[in-house]
Symmetry: C2
Amino acid sequence: MFYPKSVAVIGASRDEKREWDQGWVGMLLRFGYPGRIYPVNPNASEILGLRAYPSIKDIPHSVEYAILAVPAPAVPALLAECVSACVRFVHIFTAGFAETGTEEGRRLQQAITEIVNNTSTRVIGPNCMGIYCPASGLTFDIRLSKKLGSVGLVSQTGIGARRLCFLANQKGVRFSKVVSYGNAVDLDAPDFLDYLGQDPETRCILCYIEGVRHARQLLKTVRECVETKPVVILKAGLTEGGSGAAASHTASLTGSREAWEAFFKQSGAIRVETLEEIVDQSVALLYTPPLTGHRVGIVGRGGGFGVIATDLCENAGLLVPEHCSETKRQLEQIIPAYAGSSVRNPVEIGLGRSGISKDYSNALKIIASDPEIDFLMTYIDPETYRHYGGLGDWSSELATAISNVIRSTHKPIIAIIPEGHTAEMFSEITETRQKLLDAKLPTFSSWEAAIRAVSKLIRYYEFVSRNNVSNPSEYRTY
Amino acid sequence: MFYPKSVAVIGASRDEKREWDQGWVGMLLRFGYPGRIYPVNPNASEILGLRAYPSIKDIPHSVEYAILAVPAPAVPALLAECVSACVRFVHIFTAGFAETGTEEGRRLQQAITEIVNNTSTRVIGPNCMGIYCPASGLTFDIRLSKKLGSVGLVSQTGIGARRLCFLANQKGVRFSKVVSYGNAVDLDAPDFLDYLGQDPETRCILCYIEGVRHARQLLKTVRECVETKPVVILKAGLTEGGSGAAASHTASLTGSREAWEAFFKQSGAIRVETLEEIVDQSVALLYTPPLTGHRVGIVGRGGGFGVIATDLCENAGLLVPEHCSETKRQLEQIIPAYAGSSVRNPVEIGLGRSGISKDYSNALKIIASDPEIDFLMTYIDPETYRHYGGLGDWSSELATAISNVIRSTHKPIIAIIPEGHTAEMFSEITETRQKLLDAKLPTFSSWEAAIRAVSKLIRYYEFVSRNNVSNPSEYRTY
């Protein structure tokens, strides 16, 4: 499914500009899909330089994957033709089925379900975006990264999946395989998860689910996945209103809140609530070495953010303990007693730019060797540098300083760089974040996001260790 | 204090480039402070074109406000000179007092406390950024907005206050008066709040507090403020670790968690946990008409964000009820049944660009007139437009559509526009957000932030109505 040698696009437009800009044939060409592309349109002989066929039956080669992008009423007949032509996988992009809540929509959905039942054709959808797989050249948006990654995403929502992929790309997360599967008349979450669980290219699985037909099957599959790789799940539609919304969106039956609470307890999946949180959680999973404890050393670059951060940490079940006396002694030697500095935990290195590389990395090293500290969180606000002597090449200095520390300690370090408030700062911060991610440092844009992701990560490693599943360090990938 | 006719800068640098870039004299000149500026430096006769004086005693005019920016050990003697010279207010920028936790720091702090006791000189600080007041030309960062606003900020942290002001400026919040007051040896939170509570230029008060000397006084003052304007408070240092951090930051005694829980219950202040949340809460307060109920109509522009949003709303105590049948009937006439659309609550207008102005504003109007709905929340992801037919001038179209709706209904409308993931999108979104704010629409960058702020706003209006304090609609200001 993820590596088809040929793709037919049923419903390719004769309007070539439109097809190039927004159509599936245009998408495949522009994203660099290397296999054969067969546009299907009864009124065209050529589309975007490719030979077009009146119907799937007329294609003289075998077709492994077809995309159905035609009005809903036309779907059943064309799907039946795909089945006759032994197409292996059909992605039904078209919406307008049971999610509309109309009799006609339900009837059409029932029809396509019956057409594929007991055939060798499997369906993704309808009402979904299908597949994004950078390695094979399939995508649902040409602006998504072509870089290969190790994260799998199984998402019942399509637009949400696209937003999630964009956000993730921006934050250093790349994908192995993404599937948006909508109403799930045939292939459903457990099928995709089962595959990704065994896929050696996938080290971490993200999941957005509204409803699932076989809940027991899902539990079994997720448990199996968690034995070899972490699974993050956003289960939407658990409130009364949310359940109704899911019915309109993907015609899903969402299940009871109690059943899902039990599901999360038993499965070991990491539970999240928003798309943004899925992304943050995947950054934490990909970039953080296994966390063995919850005692955090906080290192700021001056100012009082440490007080807020400490409260957030301790409210989330982390501890911000006192340093041992040796740590304090060593810190006192390098941290000058001036504006905004402190050698206590949270440590504030001070506002000046002077310490950006040497003092800062020395302080991180000293704290990392404190036996009372399990991991470090450090806050870097570029504004501070800009104010105190200009930014210069602070992001390179910072990345060098931190890489230097990472090489000298096994303790995890987590960075928080707040969002910029101008377009210029936005670009600088994106670049800096990328440098830190290249140095294998998990990087978040707020204390709140970082602390939430990290405390869930700790609970995940506790589950892993309690249930004696495989070594979490093997999950690490960049 | 906020409108001094003259300012002395004690410790102005002879290095004119440095003073221009980073010094207080440079800041006053660059920000356009219109009063008299007296640089004080025993080794200079002129600084940045202004006559410099060896000491405050040598200035032949009265000085209303002095900024002390000299090393901590020099502060007591120079402060004593200010007292002798009858300077009305002294902002001690210098750090290195009780917050260092050293004997010397505590001794110096005690000394300055005694020097000003029973004199006519009042002190802000030490260890703080002082005042930002766009109307009088005082600031602690020249990049802060010169536009006048109606929000007052009382902040014990300085760097945090600056970050908060930047964030707030970017999100459409402008300030009347900001004070960063650090260790508070003399003037403390209740003094500033008492002033802002009575200040006609201030319609809403934000507050970051680590500790306060007279807690009962604070409760009394905040209660009085809440009678005429909303007060938002971030109380930092309530965990064990946070309390220690506050001691190192501003030498504050933070008080017990129980006492502060009681404080929030009794005072009617809106409680928040992060700087980002203070900003979101102030956007909600400034731009949202009074909220009279918790039944929300959600309007998306396609995709499944409505399911997540509905869950978040209902988990936060809001309700996403079914529309009345007349609303559904009217919506069915304008919303086509295709990809991603739904006439149920949450309504999804659909993905196409076609409906951006007419259908969208009509749908908002129909829902706003539903008696089952108290207010609307609408989600706008620019990616959707970019994908389906290009962005064009979508932000103007959107602003026009929404202004059009706002004029036709009294029901509050709240917009969510997610952050962009490229610098170009960042600029576009900032510009769009500004247009929506100009149209008096409260705008947030995530569902989570919007829902949190709005549900706290509803609880605030409930408090106001229960306690029969003044009409909340009078708080509205833009």
